[in-house]
Symmetry: C2
Subunit: 221 residues, 2 copies
């Protein structure tokens, strides 16, 4: 799947994707820019280059488009995060690796996913299963932070607050990235360094943490 490593604009311009994929691509971008409710099915259809009713041949409802995007994102991120969290490594290393991988995943995504995690979307009762999975992911992250504090690696902090702050940073960093920042310039490492350094009882340990995180082998890789 080399397409995921190319700049999004190139993908959109050159690669002849299936209509279903192009709907997901254009819908995600419009959701990110305008919000879900402000984006009409007519706008999505126009961006794809088809008529509005033709959308409904590929997705039964507008909500189904959102579900497909959630599935693509959380369906991958949640198992991977749990795998990282379960490794027999220091909490700082696991947290670093989680941050790095999540940011890379968002950076390399063919879709701009930053519009999905606003309360107006994921907070709707119809999407409650996805909200649960997101909360579960936050709890896994909070668990790593709590273990790090207990082990003396991290300072004393409210782990829930930290996991929420991380969620806020990730969404926001993504917005910045999709706003034109060159991908691959090290955003993933830059953010991971910033967050982990702020938590480490001994910030001088950051370099070793980053090095060990980079060497981690996840199950199935």
């Amino acid at each position: 799947m080399v397409a995921r490593r190319l700049p999004r604009a190139l993908v959109a311009a050159c690669v002849p994707l299936a209509t279903r994929e192009r709907i997901l691509f254009e819908a995600a971008h419009l959701f990110a820019a305008q919000g879900f409710h402000a984006t009409t099915t007519r706008q999505i259809a126009e961006a794809v280059g088809i008529r509005q009713p033709s959308l409904f041949h590929h997705f039964a409802t507008k909500d189904a488009i959102v579900e497909a995007l959630f599935d693509w994102d959380l369906g991958l991120a949640l198992p991977r995060t749990r795998a990282v969290a379960a490794l027999p490594e220091p909490a700082a290393v696991r947290l670093y690796r989680y941050l790095h991988d999540d940011l890379r995943h968002l950076e390399e995504a063919p879709y701009n996913l930053s519009g999905l995690y606003a309360d107006e979307v994921i907070g709707r009762p119809e999407f409650a299963p996805w909200a649960e999975r997101r909360d579960l992911l936050h709890r896994v992250v909070a668990g790593i932070v709590r273990e790090g504090t207990a082990a003396g690696e991290f300072i004393e902090v409210d782990a829930t607050l930290v996991s929420q702050a991380i969620a806020g940073i990730l969404v926001r960093a993504l917005t910045l990235h999709s706003g034109g920042r060159a991908p691959g310039r090290g955003l993933a490492d830059e953010v991971a360094r910033l967050v982990v350094r702020g938590l480490l009882a001994d910030p001088a340990a950051l370099e070793e943490v980053q090095g060990r995180a980079a060497l981690l082998r996840l199950p199935g890789e």
Copy 2:
């Protein structure tokens, strides 16, 4: 204005506010929970206890409600932040004070403002003046960070990335708070400590920074 220091639920239940204020209060909460576009004028009216057309006696349009909320928030935060940024103090002290004051402002707000800063609202062309003011505030914050790095107080970081990360944390911390966390439990200081510690070249200086920030006297106080 002692009402601002009471829990919001109490305010809503006991204090007989003017209709205009109650519209702002209920609209802000609905915008935060559902998003702007998903919130209908009928829902706002129902929450206030009047009929839908009666809203338009107090606000000419639905957008005018949003404008009033932006004015209440940014109209106060922007001048205050600029005043803090201009003080002859170390960057760490100014950043700490900004974070603390902004969080207190959000905590004590009679309105839940977390719904306004989603792209679907502030990104709309009609609200471009408010987006400009928000961006200006971010640039002021980035300026403090940049000065801190230049002075050797802060580590080497991308100041724009940091200001975006801070924006993400603030919105998210607010969501957490409005979700039932007890106010006044030190959220403002907890978040400010976390962020400033992550930036300080010498994290041990945090205690002194916090102490000096608390003693800062702003012009006109």
